[in-house]
Structure formats: C-alpha cells, structure tokens
Symmetry: C2
Subunit: 323 residues, 2 copies
C-alpha cells in the first residue's frame, strides 16, 4: 500500500501546494481522500489512472476539500467510465451532486453510490438526542465501518472541526505470504498462470496429476498495514482512538504553536498537537499536512512536531509514502 499526497495546503492553493487530497493505492486499485479543486490536475502528474479509482472519501464539506469533485466526476464520464464510483462523506453530498447534475454543471453518466454518514450513527447507547453533531465527547466515539473490499476495510469517526468532519482509517487486509519461486519450480509448477493461482491462494493441478497447495509455496501470511487520515480537526480523543497503533498517521498541522489560539478558533491543530496525537495513539510514523499558506516552508512545523514525535515527515505535493 502506498500513499500519494495530492495537496498539502490549507484553505487556498499556493504555487507549490494544492488544496487537500490524497491517494492510497495498492496494486491496480486506489482510493481518494478529499478532493480539493484541481485534484484531477494533480492526478495527471502521478501514475494513478482515474479508471482504477474505486471510491472517494470526503472529510467535510469545506470547499478546499471538496471543490474538485464535480470536475473529476465529469472527466471520468467524458473518459467513458461505466463502473460505479462510491462516494463516502457527510450529509449534503447527495444534494450537492443532485443540484450540479440538474444545473448541468456536473456530467454524471455512470452510477454514483453516495454513502452519507449521518452524525447520529455515532451516537452511543444512552447518549442524549441532540439536533446535530456535538463536537467532542468525554468518551471517544467509536469508529464505524464505511467501506470494504477484498483489499481494504475503511472506517470513519467524527472529529472536532467547525463543522461535522470525518476522520478515516484504512486497514489493509492481511497479505498472502511471500511466494517461493524456487520451491514452486522444484515442485514442477511452470511459470505462468499457475503462479498467479497459487499466489492468490488457490491450489493447482499439475499435468502429471500432482496437486500443489498454496501453503506448499507461500510463506506465512503478512499483516496488512494501517493508515489514518485526520483533517480538519482540533486534537481530540476520536483522532487518538481512530489512529490507534497505525503504521502511518497523516494528520493536519495548520499552524505552529505560536498560533495555538487561531487553531482553537478555526478548529485546527498545531504541529505540536498533531505530534501529540501520534504519540498518544502509538502511531509508528507521522506525516503532517494542511499547512497554512503563511508558512513559506514546512521547516518550523516539522521542527515543532519532531520535538514530541521524532518519526515525523512534512507532507509535500506528490510525495509518495510507503508505510
């Protein structure tokens, strides 16, 4: 599994950093998290192919995380997409897409499967009914599964921003063990389709009548990797719970601590707070992103985060990360 950062600026683009988006990719399938304006332009600068995109996950409806969606949807339509696209995110997406379709602003000629994750789904037993989403709770709200494929399980939890906002966690399913080519050849398996069958966990019948089982040629199953994506948010118990023991945490760090008051006011984190979430969650690695455009370089943010959590990197547009 690889992550490709597609935008690392908060609020508005700069000449070096686009607004929020990131791709997670494994083999020939990929997932998109957030879709700020010009995400389709960034995708063209990577090896990613939109025909291989399976699902889009939106954290919240602020434009810098979202305005690229109609263009991306329409371009895939022009390119002849036929298979469905799953869109996961906060309520409002359906109305948005419907309005744009009706006004002819978006061109949708393949199925969109929109999954709006209602705030009330995170309400726990005994918790009082409240109109909308109440920021923060004493006990962190439990993440909910929102998307599953053979390769990934994605869950979401509500974070603490100015508006309802979802953090996401991707757990890669366990990967098959390493394929022992020499052993397979020694057992009489020929290079070709039979290799593929064995690698995908299926037995093969050899021309000589013998049967080779996957366990004969595969090493022990390898654990899947896990990645959490937390933006935009103040530091909160939900981020920590969602990021529990992840291999890689991608967390927003809009400001340095000097601007801690702005961070509270606008619902963001400082680099120090991002690092502290990583530490509390027991994450193995932290990438900070979503930098205010006032910072000409990410150096001060990186320095601050590393003072609390050493294994931190600063996001850059088009940076690829293998967790």
């Amino acid at each position: 599994m690889r992550v490709i950062l597609l935008g690392t600026s908060s609020g508005k683009p700069t000449l070096k950093r686009n607004v929020s988006a990131l791709a997670m990719t494994r083999d020939d399938e990929w997932l998109l998290f957030d879709c700020g304006e010009a995400t389709q332009h960034q995708i063209m600068r990577t090896p990613l192919r939109t025909s291989r995109l399976s699902a889009v996950f939106i954290t919240h409806l602020h434009g810098d995380h979202f305005n690229g969606l109609p263009g991306l949807i329409s371009t895939m339509g022009l390119d002849g997409r036929e298979r469905a696209l799953v869109i996961v995110g906060p309520p409002g997406i359906r109305e948005y897409v419907d309005t744009l379709s009706r006004l002819k602003t978006a061109y949708v000629n393949y199925p969109l499967e929109i999954r709006e994750i209602e705030p009330k789904r995170f309400r726990e037993d005994g918790e009082e009914e409240s109109g909308g989403w109440k920021a923060r709770s004493v006990k962190p709200r439990r993440p909910l599964p929102v998307y599953e494929t053979e390769k990934y399980a994605v869950s979401a939890a509500p974070l603490d921003h100015r508006i309802y906002d979802l953090g996401y966690r991707v757990d890669e399913r366990p990967r098959p063990g390493e394929f022992n080519v020499e052993r397979a050849l020694a057992l009489g398996v020929e290079r070709g389709p039979m290799f593929g069958r064995l690698q995908s966990g299926k037995r093969v019948h050899l021309p000589n009548g013998k049967i080779v089982e996957p366990r004969d040629v595969l090493g022990p199953e390898r654990a899947g990797k896990s990645i959490a994506y937390c933006t935009d948010t103040r530091p909160c118990a939900e981020s920590v719970a969602l990021s529990d023991n992840v291999d890689l945490l991608i967390h927003e760090a809009t400001y340095t601590s000097e601007l801690a008051e702005e961070a509270v006011r606008y619902g963001h984190s400082t680099a120090l707070q991002a690092a502290s979430v990583a530490k509390q969650a027991g994450a193995r690695r932290l990438v900070i992103t979503h930098f205010s455009s006032r910072y000409m370089t990410a150096e001060p943010l990186l320095r601050e985060a590393r003072s609390v959590f050493e294994n931190t990197e600063a996001g850059e547009d088009l940076l690829e990360i293998e967790p």
Copy 2:
C-alpha cells in the same frame, strides 16, 4: 486593454491546457470570462491580482466553464475581500451559490451581485412565447447590455450550444488622447498629481493663477477597442452579429472539419467555422481556443482557420494579447 488566456482546453484539462477562462484587463481593473476548475491556480501564474477583479461573466453552466468559481470566491473571502463582486451569467448561478453557501462548500463573506440573464430577455416583439431557450433564430437576437463601468461596456447574446449559452462583447470606452508631456511642462505644469488630473480630463490651476485645460495638453480622443468572446457554440447568426467589426474575436474551435458531425452533435464549431464567423463579422483578428484534448498541438486547427481568415492565432494558456 489586454487579454490573458487562462485556459484553452475543452471539456477536461490536459497537462498543458487548463479548462476555459480568460481575463480582460485595463489599468488596475480586470474582468474574468468563464471560470473553469483551477482558474485561481492560473491567476497565480499571471500578474493579475484577485483584489482588482470587478466582475465574472459565465457563458454557460457546463462544469469546464464554471467549476472554479466556488474556489475563487472563497479564496477572495479568505484574502479579506470586502467590495462586491458582480457575477453575470445564465439562470442557475444564484441557486448554485446559495446551495454551496448553505452546505458550507463556498465561503462568501462579501457581497455577490448576481445578474442572471434570462433567455426571455432576448425575445423580440411579436416573437412567440416558448418555454425555454430555442436555439437559433432566423434573425439574430440583438445583444443586450449586461455590465457597464467607466472603462467598459459589456453586452451579451445567446449562442447556439446544447444548453443556454451566452456570448459576450466588451467595448472599451474611448480613451483620452495622448498626453503631451513637453507641452504640459512648457505651460508650467509640474510633474506629479497635476499630470494625473489633466490625463483624466480635469483642468488644473497653476500656482501662478493660470488655468490649463485638458485639451491644451491632450491629443485627440482615441477610439476604444472591442473584443468578442464566443464559446461554446455552433457557428450562428448571433455570433456574427455580436462580433460585428471587433478588433479581436476569441472563438471556440473544438474540432477540425474532419469532425464536423461531432461539432454539430455536441454544439461546437470547427476551426473553419470559427474563421468563417470572424470573416463574416469583419473582425480584425481571431484567436481560436477550446481545443479538444485529442489534438496534441493546435497546428491542424490553426492551418484550417487560416485558410479562411489569415489573421488567426491559436490560443495557449497564459498567452497575452493586445488587440
């Protein structure tokens, strides 16, 4: 008056051409025509400042002419814009902006003055009532004034696309005559604010009691330039009428003539047709734009247009043109 092309690709962006947008600028004020996705990114690559933007004109609501609007509006809000922005275009813009504001996707904290140009406003006396916009009429529909400032008068006419679509024409007001510096100095005017007063047509009182009139130091008034912008459209009588005698016509040329059937079907023009509109209108110069992404270079389109109208150039992103 200068034109800066901000996007010259039709439908979807390529690595070299962004989707539709262009700026017309004079002195410290500018107007934006169309606002495809990532127009704000393109603006950052020019000397244009969004604080100097007075009005946006949208041709039609297809996303490749429109999806950059919420991001641009929001970025100007983040940058502290206070003065109103005029938005001129087809009906639907108000509903779009309202929906995005309500969903928090666009951040609008300064006045937007939205002017929706209803199709029925182009109906002529005796013409029958019809539900919506009927493409093409025998007699071209007359352009209507839609925006006026001290420097420009902008008019619009409905063109012939798959959906209701407006062409625009900008007539620069006559410019004051050339300022004769030597003559001003000889008359005793000192360099500084008095020069500015005279240039803007106001008389000045010299310290010695003498009065200098603008006509004493200014040459004859110079005619303003005119520019027409016709996209997306099939060739039509309205484009010809709107572009009557313009100094510069910017006309779409999505295809070469080989794809003339596609052009009809999708409501576009071939390069040959664009050139023919320029010729019929008596335009002095033609810039073709809005090229299908199938063309790796604009050469074949340019060759075709020049066979009919010699003074043609092919648009390129960030190209500046002085008509």
